[in-house]
């Protein structure tokens, strides 16, 4: 099998050119050369991969000429057509970390070439780019080079060969904000007991799911003039036209449906049903008004309590549907309701 071709990016310091005083050197392409940490990578690759070129750039130069230098480097990498692009490791060097992240992410996104880098978790480049390329976690200074090279070579070979990348904690990269399943050694209950023992002893422990910042929506002010308001019904309770023409899933819905209420005054078991898989469907199927109260809204319309019931309603299944999908449905349904001049919405769940 042909060796995996790698292009390596480093800064002026690791290239042995100089420190801060040389940070303004422009980008240089060294074809066929293996420089600085590249030597350790090459040794670690054994016969499976080799560095075919090294790109060197001063950290200040990179950050001050970001667009121009990015374009120049992308041009070189495109011509070299490597299997993998490695930048760094940058440890806790801020500008170097940002440069490594920027260029690795650009290679991946714009050239479609696999890329990776390595740095310390608090390097500003980490937060900026960890969801755009694989960033292997290293120590905070070059004293951790041996460890970094070991981790990065192992990951590089696995990645370049197209083997399945495991969860972040298994393969040592920074979490990309994507949840990845894997089998632990201990069962969950044992892990929970171990975590509790640590928590009780005030020892450090690592949660398996860091809580996100929760997105809370402030309710709108009350509608002042209901008698002239156009009211729409939207439900996550799965009420659909009988036969579920849009094939909305019983759980983990990937779509919502838009259905007409023109001439409909009462939902009955011959025309409407629920597609929702999260509750006993008997009562909803008998009389879908129990979930989508069309009958009551029609009464209120007749009595003049509300101006008008909107002639379309929207439905999806809330059961197990991801927040991202739900947000997407909400945005689209909202757009259509606004376009139709709806003043207020009654959202029903189950």
């Amino acid at each position: 099998m042909a060796k995996i071709k790698v292009v390596h990016y480093i800064n002026q310091f690791f290239a042995g050119i100089g420190g801060e005083e040389k940070a303004d050197i422009p980008a240089e392409l060294h074809k066929g050369e293996v420089i600085g940490p590249g030597m350790a990578f090459n040794t670690g690759f054994k016969d499976e991969a080799e560095i075919i070129a090294t790109i060197v750039c001063g950290d200040s130069y990179f950050n001050e000429n970001i667009e121009a230098v990015k374009a120049e480097i992308l041009g070189w990498v495109k011509d070299l057509a490597p299997d993998l692009f490695i930048a760094g490791p940058a440890f806790n060097a801020g500008r170097y970390g940002v440069a490594c992240g920027t260029i690795a992410a650009a290679v991946q996104e714009e050239l479609g070439i696999k890329s990776m880098t390595g740095m310390y978790v608090e390097n500003p480049g980490a937060d900026m780019y960890k969801d755009k390329t694989y960033i292997l976690q290293t120590k905070d200074s070059a004293a951790g080079m041996r460890d970094a090279v070991k981790k990065m070579t192992a990951f590089a070979l696995k990645y370049a060969k197209g083997e399945k990348i495991g969860a972040s904690c298994q393969d040592g990269y920074m979490n990309q904000g994507v949840r990845v399943n894997f089998f632990e050694k201990e069962r969950g209950s044992k892990r929970a007991v171990d975590m509790l023992l640590k928590k009780l002893a005030d020892e450090p422990f690592t949660t398996e799911y860091p809580m996100p910042d929760f997105d809370r929506v402030e309710p709108n002010p009350a509608v002042k003039d209901m008698a002239h308001a156009k009211i729409a019904l939207v439900t996550s309770g799965g009420i659909v036209v009988k036969g579920n023409p849009d094939h909305i899933e019983s759980s983990s819905a990937s779509r919502f449906g838009e259905y007409s209420l023109e001439g409909v005054y009462d939902l009955d078991e011959n025309t409407f049903e629920t597609a929702h898989g999260g509750y006993d469907p008997v009562y909803a199927n008998q009389d879908a008004d129990r979930v989508l109260p069309v009958d009551v809204l029609r009464d209120l319309e007749k009595e003049g309590v509300i101006g008008k019931l909107h002639e379309k309603y929207y439905a999806t299944v809330g059961n197990g549907t991801s927040v991202a999908n739900a947000k997407g449905f909400g945005a689209e349904i909202g757009k259509r309701l606004v376009a139709d001049g709806v003043d207020a919405v009654i959202l029903t769940s189950t």
Binding site: A167, S168, C169, Q170, N175, G177, V178, R179, V180, N181, F182, F183, E184, K185, E186, R187, G188, S189, K190, R191, A192, V193, M195, L196, L197, K199, L200, F205, T207, E208, Y209, M211, P212, D213, F214, D215, H247, E249, S250, S251, S252, S254, H276, G277, G278, Y279, D280, P281, V282, Y283, G318, N319, G320, T321, S322, V323, A324, N325
Partner: protein, 426 residues
């Protein structure tokens, strides 16, 4: 309370003339068990089949999984409130048939029934690919409503499990485990320096096919209470729910509650395991608030230092989970949560329907939305008629070549929220 569990290792299940347990083999004459099922007029017919680990067999739609047990010493009997009267269980001696399970299956009740594959990639996700399974496939009488069908199959499962358990009466167990908790005062005197730990288990009670029963009582109607952790081992808590297969707690997992087992393993060594606190997951806000107030209060009154909090189901119950966690932490009781995730097929979505900074110690059973391709297997016990409809499937699930494209949500106990399995996510 002190309970001995005598474990009888079952190494094979065979159909035979005489139903008995002998030499580690369960012999079953299906004719002995049919009348036990059919005594309920709501069930039209039943047949039994056997599925063994490694066989090219798929069981679906799976309702409950039960471990046959029999009470041989001490108060009460198995499945109090259903099979036995309501004497308090959890002390004395109980025999359990290990390595096997009774699986109830048949025509769909709701949408949230499961798949058990005995081989292939799906088998890695379910603990019940590793047990010898006696499968009971029920057919309801025509026109039976879903909830009546669910109740009929649930109760028939307990009757059959109890009758199988009876076959073990008098047999010398291969191994005996002793589980013992102390009274409050006794525990403080015996383990003055050990942290006091409880286990708060949230039982699925959203209603409409989402119910759990405690001594025969629908747990929707309970106010949180304390139990000896050994009570669940005698079947005091049973499943009556059609929550998504991956994170419903089948009766088997209540009987073999892994949190209880793992806390017992530390009892008297690093912790004093005080009790199990059971609470519910009702859908009304007032119920949620009342129940979480009560669990927090009980944790405080029992002077607990820490608890493990487990959930059942997802979405709506996530709010109960977070409410319990917030209020219990606010009482100064350190809390670790066990849950699972619905992070979307791409893993990029927020995993729970609620969140709070107090929930800083979480164990996860993995992302239930992960998609898996299950191969076509040689034999189906039950039916594939509903495979595109169960929770976690879609209209594209059953593919032309017979393979299934599903979320692991469809696999029984894949992301169990009592920590029964090793699946996790980061």
């Amino acid at each position: 309370m002190r309970l001995e569990i005598g474990k009888i290792n079952i190494t094979d299940i065979r159909f035979a003339e005489e139903s008995k347990v002998e030499g580690g083999v369960l012999y079953v004459n299906a004719e002995d068990f049919k009348p036990v099922v059919l005594e309920d007029e709501k069930i039209k017919d039943v047949y039994f089949d056997i599925a063994k680990p490694g066989e090219s067999v798929r069981i679906t739609p799976v309702k409950d999984v039960i471990e046959p047990r029999v009470k041989v010493e001490g108060k009460g009997g198995v499945f109090p409130g259903w099979i036995s009267k309501v004497d308090t269980v959890g002390s004395g001696k109980t025999l359990a048939l290990k390595g096997m399970a009774l699986v109830t299956a048949g025509k769909i009740v709701g949408f949230q029934e499961g798949v058990i594959d005995m081989t292939g990639p799906g088998a890695d996700y379910t603990p019940f690919s590793k047990t010898l399974n006696l499968v009971m496939v029920c057919e309801p009488v025509e026109g039976l409503k879903q909830h009546d069908y669910e109740a009929a199959v649930r109760k028939a499962g307990f009757r059959v499990a109890a009758k199988i358990g009876e076959l073990a009466r008098g047999i010398e167990p291969d191994e005996t485990c002793v589980y013992e908790t102390c009274g409050i005062k006794e525990g403080i005197e015996k383990y003055p320096d050990l942290p006091r730990v409880g286990y708060v288990s949230m039982l699925q009670t959203q209603g409409l096919l989402h119910d759990t029963y405690v001594y025969g009582v629908d747990a929707k109607q309970i106010i949180p209470t304390i139990m000896s952790p050994t009570e669940a081992m005698d079947g005091a808590i049973v499943s009556g729910n059609c929550v998504s297969a991956c994170d419903k707690n089948p009766t088997y997992i209540h009987q073999n509650n892994p949190v209880i087992e793992d806390l017992f393993a530390q009892h008297g060594k690093t912790i004093n395991f005080v009790c199990q606190i059971i609470t519910n997951e009702n859908v009304y806000l007032a119920d949620k608030e009342r129940s979480s107030n009560m669990t927090a209060k009980l944790c405080r009154m029992l002077d607990l230092d820490g608890i493990i909090l487990t959930q059942e189901g997802f979405g709506n119950p996530d709010t109960d989970l977070i409410m319990n966690c917030k209020k219990i932490e606010a009482e100064g009781v350190k809390t670790v949560i066990v849950t699972d995730e619905y992070a979307g097929r791409d893993g990029k979505s927020q995993s729970l329907a609620d969140a709070d900074v107090a929930a800083d110690a979480v164990v996860t059973g993995g992302n239930a939305n992960e998609v898996i391709i299950l191969p076509k297997l040689d034999k189906v016990i039950g039916t594939l008629d509903y495979i595109n409809k169960i929770a976690g499937a879609s209209d594209k699930t059953l593919r032309e070549d017979g393979t299934l494209e599903v979320e692991i949500q469809v696999i029984t106990a894949a992301t169990n929220e009592m920590g029964f399995g090793t699946l996790s996510a980061r």
